[in-house]
């Protein structure tokens, strides 16, 4: 046994884990995918976004409830429980309540039991643990570092992907560049770099992947050319306060700052889509895959992975999985990627076209089965359906731009489904800029504006601080 390995305690079992990986991935490597149960229907949920946004991986760790196990590194002696552990009748209760459709038209809802006070007490002691939202913390509270105040900045760029780097490099004067990833380059960077260093010939056979890598290299070179860029990684902007305030979080550490000009180039989020079984543990988006394979180094050798979708992330995921020793099966839902299809055939990756995803079901803790129907009909007649069983399934669709902070700062949004979701009104231009009511100059770039990588490279930011 490796001396550096750490031992954690999961619900009475001692598990040996590699150091430096996140708790959710450590449990995943031990075949434990169900990290929580959903509050109303008691559905098993697991690691999904791998960046602390969703509820799938919330667990009780060392007496503290609602801990994001995808963000927390394992340490020796860590005590981990599912939040609804021991309440085996919880899911049954939830199912019964949700079946009683007349009495409970929208099912069981754990927020009902907050008034009057005696019901609230009953809720805290009895119902709360049952519903899986966790018991209150036990033991001494963990010390929380005092929040930092960084003061006023002329230009802040949020998101250090290719677009954000380019904006930072072409802006006059000092720039503060913030990203939630530890290093600049964006969400795809670690995946592209791993493929380039371990199997560069694979990179060359997929034009979209190699051009993304080239674009990344150019951006990172651009970062070197400007001296007064300060990069802070591992920090996420979690709030915007009008007129010009930002709140950042890194673990328990909060930071506030103000800015005169804000360039919003935060990357997109994975979109899984609406289909039966879209909450199945073991169903990920490409950005989660990049993080899990490069940050945590999940051992995925030999695993059979279904990749469903199209576009850059579809091919990048396939290359990354191949580099990591997994067996990708491709279900291409769009027929436009000609050169890539030829390369996939050359690598003898199983490839299906003309299919649409119908549903995904878990068959055991570590296996799932995806059902496809011919794309032209997309009906429920199962005469010609195809079932594929696998260890993991990936949905590679256009990502969802992150818009919440610009909205909090006063920017109007409208729905643009073809660009991935809610975007600032007037989206479709290469860059969106304007002066907000509070006087803050806001510019929205890259994936945050619904543009795919490389599409905004010709424009230079022109907003001047008021």
């Amino acid at each position: 046994m490796n001396q550096d390995n750490v031992k954690i305690h999961f619900e009475g079992k001692a598990l040996t884990c590699r150091p430096g990986i996140s708790l959710a991935v450590a449990l995943f490597e031990h075949g434990i995918r169900t990290l929580s149960h959903s509050p109303k229907f008691g559905h098993p949920r697991g690691l999904t976004c791998a960046r602390g946004h969703c509820t799938g991986c919330l667990m009780r760790v060392d007496g503290e409830p609602n801990v994001r196990s995808c963000e927390l590194q394992v340490h020796d002696g860590m005590r981990v429980q599912r939040q609804d552990t021991g309440a085996s009748y919880g899911p049954v209760l939830q199912k019964t309540m949700s079946k009683g459709h007349r009495l409970f038209p929208v099912g069981f809802y754990y927020k009902w039991f907050t008034r009057p006070p005696f019901v609230s007490r009953m809720f805290l002691r009895g119902i709360r643990p049952l519903t899986g939202v966790g018991r209150l913390p036990t033991g001494a509270p963990k010390p929380i570092p005092a929040a930092e105040s960084w003061g006023m900045f002329e230009t802040v760029v949020v998101g250090a992907g290719p677009s954000g780097i380019q904006a930072a490099a072409t802006t006059d004067g000092p720039v503060l560049l913030i990203d939630e990833n530890p290093a600049p380059g964006g969400q795809r960077a670690p995946a592209l770099q791993k493929i380039a260093s371990e199997n560069a010939s694979l990179l060359d056979s997929f034009p979209s992947v190699s051009s993304a890598y080239k674009h990344l290299q150019e951006s990172l070179d651009g970062l070197q050319t400007k001296e007064d860029i300060t990069f802070h990684g591992g920090r996420r902007v979690i709030a915007g306060y009008q007129p010009d305030g930002l709140l950042l979080r890194s673990g328990n550490q909060l930071t506030t700052l103000h800015c005169r000009k804000l360039v919003w180039a935060a990357g997109a989020m994975d979109t899984l889509g609406l289909f039966p079984g879209n909450d199945t543990p073991g169903l990920w988006g490409p950005r989660a895959l990049y993080r899990i394979l490069t940050r945590d180094g999940l051992d995925i050798a030999g695993a059979h992975v279904l990749i469903i979708g199209s576009g850059l992330d579809f091919w990048l995921s396939a290359c990354l999985l191949a580099v990591c020793g997994a067996r990708p099966s491709l279900i291409l839902t769009d027929n436009q990627d000609g050169d890539e299809v030829a390369a996939a055939v050359e690598h003898k990756w199983p490839l299906h076209t003309g299919l649409a995803l119908d549903q995904i079901k878990q068959t055991s803790e570590t296996r799932l089965i995806a059902t496809f129907v011919p794309r032209q009909t997309q009906t429920r007649t199962r005469s010609s359906h195809l079932d594929l069983e696998a260890d993991l399934a990936l949905i590679c669709k256009r990502g969802k731009p992150v818009y919440d902070i610009p909205h909090q700062l006063g920017r109007e949004l409208a729905l643009y489904p073809e660009l991935g979701g809610f975007l600032p009104t007037g989206a479709g231009d290469t860059a969106l800029r304007g002066i907000l009511p509070g006087g803050l100059a806001l510019e929205i770039l890259g994936e945050a504006s619904g543009q795919l990588p490389g599409h905004n490279s010709s424009t230079r930011p022109e907003v001047t601080a008021p």
């Binding site: 979080r249 039966p276 909205h407």
Partner: protein, 103 residues
């Protein structure tokens, strides 16, 4: 063979079917649907589901998606503990008089 549920909002466990039923019950605005079904009120604060809900609603109402506005997205965008909130210095509201010293 029973079909698995399609979840519109994973945090608050709202299925697509529940959302459509709520629409048929007369909740035809995104704000009222959010309050009735809980869509977008959970841990992710709508990052995962708000645009899907809005798109579904636009289809149910038969209106162009570009007319669909989001619900108000208030800061912060993710849950914070009381301990974290207490770690923040509260700035003086601008233009307010300086507080009188306690005697």
């Amino acid at each position: 063979m029973s079909r698995p549920k399609t979840f519109l909002c994973r945090c608050e466990d709202v299925t697509l079917r529940e959302f459509r039923e709520a629409f048929r019950e007369g909740f035809t605005e995104l704000e009222s649907l959010k309050r009735y079904t809980g869509v977008g009120t959970g841990f992710c604060q709508g990052k995962g589901c708000l645009s899907e809900a809005a798109r579904e609603l636009a289809a149910l109402r038969g209106i162009p998606t570009s007319d669909q506005k989001p619900t108000t997205i208030r800061p912060p965008s993710e849950p914070l503990t009381f301990g974290q909130l207490a770690s923040l210095e509260i700035p003086e509201p601008s233009g307010s008089p300086t507080p009188k010293e306690e005697t």
